[in-house]
Symmetry: C2
Subunit: 350 residues, 2 copies
């Protein structure tokens, strides 16, 4: 696939997964969040983005500052896909869901000839790429429903242990941005609590977020389906995933659900996508005192991907960063991260 | 009011609040959660309840134990009303909502002659006591909607600073059970993370839970209404509370929503009410390995209140503990706390 903003699904990883690789034993082989040592933000080049983060932390933690924030209110919110880890050529969780469609169809053969499942089974990369977010939510609800909640934890962990990104041939959990890991650590070293607000399914992200980002399950908000309490044949209580959406964590939902789950306006927010993060970044920046809203611009075609359409970068369906959001960012004094200019390195393994 | 299980609302505190006491300045005057020092559970008498808690912690934290639980999975869940603090003669949050009905009716006079608001305004204690949970949810949605989310934080904090329990004439936030504060501290000292799962509104509880229990907002789950993102007249983004229920955290909802928000089955759960905590205690106990489900029986008519109807105690509408749940507890090996026998003292101020 092209590194310059392919919006198609790779036939290779969809079909590769269909072949049924065995689950790897043991723990996730991921970049563990390390305690901050030495100078903060070591993987950042000096520049306005790094400086904005350092300044924000200084003025909100210095007790003599007019913008001082008490430790209990220090909350920072991070989008995941495209902000903390790679989202191209397609969101990791979409890959996860697509790879479980064959299992679903085996259990419910009537879905075989029904859309969007039929298209997924065809393996036709172009057709799959045209599926809408609504189609993906239907696939998510289909592949993640009717099962015991703890069985789903196991399925997620096994998949994460074996699945690899087609470009780097490494587990997805290694494709986290080292500069952002440093931001997480730096904020926590300054008594900020760090949260993920993802458009993906919270239950999936919770299976690796602590190990990969140092973020515990109660600090992960995401899209989530309904759960139903009942009893099995032996009259043991069970909790099952139901094919009904309860929380849609996209667009305004990302900030509405943050309040539902935590009851606070964050002081800092990091995102990258117009359809996913715009309201979150806008709302955080509009708060009283010093607030930090940061948007990651993917402009590094060589080391990662380049996509916009902001600043004339290629337009893609995954994680699009519109020129409108870019203009809003400038007008509202958000901080823009240029991956190309601001980051010395992208990944820990480099 | 009678200490032996009055299920009526005290006319005194409803009408007292209607008179409009001034807001007290400053912080909550509450029992702060203290780090555990000396022997654990100092306010507990030796007996099966104390021993069950000590044994559970020992077998789940000893690495050589077959029931060892890795620290990241150590989660304990607590009901609030009747489990962590006093719930009689009426739930604190119901008092809070009732006291805000006059403000609501001032803003929306058409509600004055509509039920359940008409009954609340009548001050008729017997009639108010007969209001259903559905009526109270309508009052909650009425009094907590249409306002900015941060304005609601302020309203909650002001009320908590001035409101007092009619029997002890102390802030509600002082009426927390000292033996349970010791359990929270003891669990945390053993790397358990502690959560509240309340039938009340999460947003209200989050305003004092950190100070009173040492429980941060992201560890508070509760009943909650919808939030809506929009813009004010000056085009500034605002988030408002909407008159629509999203999460109902009673009965099975208490464990369904726990999974929605955290994606984990707790290893320990503490509750007291049949209509509120039964499924949570049952589900936790049914998990693999060592699990602790604890039910608080209010059998101390002298130092607190006595209500069942389990064990022949008076039946009340607030926090009822049915004989059926008591029998289930015995059959499933839950731990029962007798407040009379197991607790040396009830409150820190005694």
């Amino acid at each position: 696939m092209s590194a310059s903003g392919s919006n198609g699904l790779s036939r290779r990883f969809v079909l590769g997964a269909f072949a049924g690789l065995p689950a790897l034993p043991g723990l996730l082989d991921a970049t563990a969040a390390q305690a901050q040592t030495g100078a903060p933000l070591a993987s950042w080049n000096d520049g306005p983005a790094k400086q904005a983060i350092l300044d924000f932390v200084r003025v909100t933690t210095d007790p003599s500052s007019k913008d001082f924030v008490p430790p209990e209110e220090r909350i920072a919110e991070f989008d995941q896909d495209g902000t903390l880890w790679v989202e191209h050529p397609v969101y990791t969780q979409v890959v996860f869901c697509l790879e479980h469609v064959p299992d679903l169809v085996k259990a419910r053969p009537e879905l075989k000839n029904r859309e969007p499942f039929k298209t997924v089974l065809s393996g036709n990369r172009e057709a799959i790429a045209k599926l809408s977010m609504r189609d993906f939510f239907e696939i998510m609800l289909g592949t993640q429903s009717g099962m015991d909640v703890e069985a789903f934890r196991e399925i997620s962990r096994k998949w994460l242990a074996r699945a690899k990104h087609p470009r780097w041939d490494r587990p997805y959990t290694e494709l986290v941005y080292q500069p952002m890991i440093e931001v997480l650590n730096y904020l926590r070293a300054n008594d900020y609590r760090t949260f993920i607000a993802t458009g993906g399914s919270a239950g999936f992200v919770r299976e690796y977020a602590e190990k990969v980002y140092g973020i515990v399950p109660e600090q992960v908000a995401g899209t989530e389906q309904a759960f139903k309490y009942g009893y099995d044949k032996e009259h043991r209580p069970i909790l099952t995933r139901e094919p009904k959406m309860v929380l849609n964590n996209l667009e305004a939902g990302k900030i509405e659900n943050f309040w539902l789950m935590y009851g606070r306006r964050p002081y800092a927010a990091f995102g990258n996508s117009s359809s996913d993060d715009q309201q979150m970044l806008e709302y955080v920046k509009a708060g009283s005192g010093a607030r930090l809203s940061v948007a990651v611009l993917h402009d590094d075609v060589k080391r990662e991907y380049a996509y916009g359409p902001a600043q004339g970068l290629p337009n893609t369906s995954v994680g699009a960063f519109s020129q409108e959001m870019y203009d809003m960012a400038k007008k509202q004094y958000w901080t823009i991260i240029s991956m190309k200019d601001d980051w010395k390195r992208i990944f820990a393994f480099e």
